[in-house]
């Protein structure tokens, strides 16, 4: 088989992996080597779906022993199969890298023969790149669930980031769609990687020569819309992963129908808006000091698709508003709809030298369209205070949105849930939460 055909098959099989982040590592070039990593990450291109291409994202092979219903590479699927040799992977990576096409390699694999065998192949490919080709660019590699810790350990010393995909957000969903996997086999490598990262960090304090172990941390991916899991249980899970497992990122992937299966919902288009809202909520968890329990609760299981999660939260908690721009602290500013990390920092800087009014903060980049209902400058609202009530604000915010999200006939993700989940459902999905 020609290299170009292999590349076609194995990048086609890898494209549903969302992660394409090349940040978090500042690996330096070595004498005679090629490449370096930029800690901010660099996007090299954007494909026609608007997603960033920063890494050469390929599978080592798409021969798979598992038969997970949601996955395009499942054993029972009749598709062309191929496998790269480690040399081919290294050659492609180096030559793409030298032309500045990519920032590094994202190597994943279907499970061929056994998890250990697969992990060994992956390790061999990254070892070849780092030692023989002296490649110092970014490498992200998948840790295969149930692979032995010693193999994960070796791969971890060569790569910048490792990830284990959870894919399905609850144990029931796993049983339903991926009966050969269980949550233990997924969480165990995650736990191992976390403990080794912590250990390496501690050791580095005393011994500078401590070898690196996954310096850019680990990440995971959840599929949204293939199972009836609610946004609340997904966000709870993400929060647990960030806090308990110290993950750098949780990626959300709108379910794209790659197969027909009686257990899978009939979706005509991926639930992109739901995915977008989850990402917004994810940012609120990581950078804005929100907790999952604040954004959603047992009575309110799904994120509002009409309003962004912060606006939605603010409307339900008007008792915290208005916030006085010239007095509030950083985290209070961050909770105002229309104010992000950057504008909050600018406000902090600018108000040191001068009290701010609405003209000023508009120039600083605050989105007044949303923020206007929630703030005062020098004690005054922008409009008459009498107008500030939840209904009025919501109507105005939605009026602004209506242009953006005109009733979209393709957006029928609710067909997944014929009726709204009952509290019992909620409890079930909670107890089954990974």
């Amino acid at each position: 088989m020609e290299l170009i055909d292999k590349l076609h098959i194995l990048s086609d099989a890898a494209k549903y992996d969302v992660s394409c982040v090349s940040s978090g590592s500042d690996r330096k070039n070595t004498p005679g080597g090629v490449g370096s990593a930029a800690s901010c990450g660099i996007c090299h291109s954007f494909s026609s779906d608007g997603r960033c291409i920063s890494l050469l994202k390929i599978l080592l092979t798409n021969y798979c022993v598992y038969d997970c219903a949601y996955c395009v590479n499942r054993a029972s699927n009749d598709i062309p199969r191929a496998a790269f040799t480690p040399e081919e992977v290294a050659d492609l990576t180096i030559n793409f890298y030298r032309r500045n096409y990519i920032e590094g390699l994202f190597l994943s694999s279907a499970v061929i023969q056994s998890p250990d065998h697969t992990m060994e192949l992956l390790t061999r490919a990254v070892r070849l790149l780092r030692t023989q080709y002296r490649f110092n660019g970014y490498i992200h590699v998948k840790a295969i669930p149930s692979a032995s810790p010693s193999l994960i350990e070796e791969a971890g010393r060569y790569v910048d980031r490792m990830s284990v995909n959870i894919e399905l957000p609850s144990q029931q969903s796993l049983q339903l769609l991926a009966p050969q996997k269980d949550k233990q086999s997924i969480l165990q490598p995650m736990n191992y990687i976390r403990s080794r990262i912590v250990e390496t960090r501690e050791n580095k304090k005393f011994f500078q020569s401590t070898p690196n172990f996954v310096p850019a941390g680990q990440s995971t991916q959840l599929i949204v819309g293939a199972t009836p899991d609610t946004d609340f249980s997904i966000l709870k899970l993400s929060e647990g992963l960030y806090k308990g497992y110290k993950l750098r990122r949780v990626f959300y992937s709108a379910y794209i129908p790659v197969s027909r299966h009686p257990q899978l919902p009939a979706v005509t288009r991926p639930p992109l808006l739901r995915e977008h809202r989850l990402y917004q909520a994810d940012w609120l968890l990581r950078f804005y000091g929100f907790s999952a329990g604040e954004l959603l609760d047992e009575t309110n299981l799904q994120l509002n698709t009409q309003l962004d999660p912060k606006c939605d939260w603010a409307l339900r908690h008007l008792q915290h508003f208005p916030v006085e721009i010239n007095k509030a602290d950083y985290y209070t500013l961050l909770r105002i709809p229309g104010i992000g990390v950057r504008s909050a920092q600018r406000i902090l800087a600018a108000r040191k030298v001068q009290p701010l009014d609405f003209d000023h903060i508009k120039k600083l980049g605050v989105v007044l369209k949303r923020a206007r209902y929630f703030i005062t400058c020098k004690g005054k609202y922008i409009d008459r205070a009498a107008d500030i009530n939840p209904l009025f604000i919501e109507q105005n915010l939605l009026a602004d949105r209506s242009q953006q999200f005109k009733t979209d006939p393709g957006f029928i993700q609710l067909s997944l849930l014929p009726q709204l989940p009952t509290p019992q459902d909620a409890l079930l999905s909670l107890t089954g939460e990974i």
């Binding site: 290299l3 170009i4 590349l7 076609h8 990048s11 086609d12 890898a14 494209k15 549903y16 330096k28 070039n29 005679g32 080597g33 090629v34 490449g35 370096s36 930029a38 901010c40 660099i42 996007c43 090299h44 291109s45 954007f46 494909s47 026609s48 779906d49 608007g50 997603r51 960033c52 291409i53 920063s54 050469l56 994202k57 390929i58 492609l92 030559n95 793409f96 030298r98 032309r99 500045n100 096409y101 920032e103 660019g137 709108a254 794209i256 288009r269 991926p270 992109l272 600018r346 800087a349 600018a350 040191k352 030298v353 001068q354 701010l356 003209d359 000023h360 120039k363 600083l364």
Partner: protein, 245 residues
Amino acid sequence: MRIYIHDGSFEGLLTCIFNIYESKSTPGGIVSHVHQQISLVDEQIPVETDFVKSKRVYQAIREKISPTALEKAYHVYLTETEESGMMIYEYVKLGFTMGRLVEDHLSDPRVLSVHKTSQRVGFETHRMLGFLRFRLIGENTYYAPFQPDSNILALVAPHFTERLSDQNWMIHDLRRGIAAVWNQQEWVLTDLSSEVVPAPCKTDEKYQALWKEFYHTIAISTRYNPKLQKQLMPARYWKYITEKW
């Protein structure tokens, strides 16, 4: 109105600022000779670049204001617009009265415009680190053409001296006719007015084909979103992006 005209270099611009302070005059404009316009009412003052004077201004900005203010002023200069000279002058003038605090005066239009422009230049530099495409044109020699909005060649080149240190390369700004050349030891900035883009060699065509195959395969057709793609990778850069030819 007095219009100060410099030779287009950053030192020339700083010399203008020195002369303005020395003569205690109010400038009507500080422009490079490229932007010089014939005018009956304005008094045009050509300024010869003086490295002693420019160095004094350079150090004064760094020490009396701050190193970041100097960097921001330099970024504004790189945009090569007609207004950039006056923007820098107003910013620096304000800076000399209040020191490093000037960076907090974000509600002042003189400060905000400099910060925004500097941010734009920094953003383009960062983008180009990704969008630049090298092609193999000879034995271990790579060539990358580009046409950035601002004159960011000198900001882009150092990134590749570390990253691609074991290959000879040249980054060519076709719009300004300048190039950065690296010979595995040091890099130099040189004039290169040729507009001929060297053809890639045979091996390079193979990898270009592989890359294009990858690029087209990795897109998910059910998520097709060309508007987002163009927003993130503006079409004006596509001319030299291999996968977009």
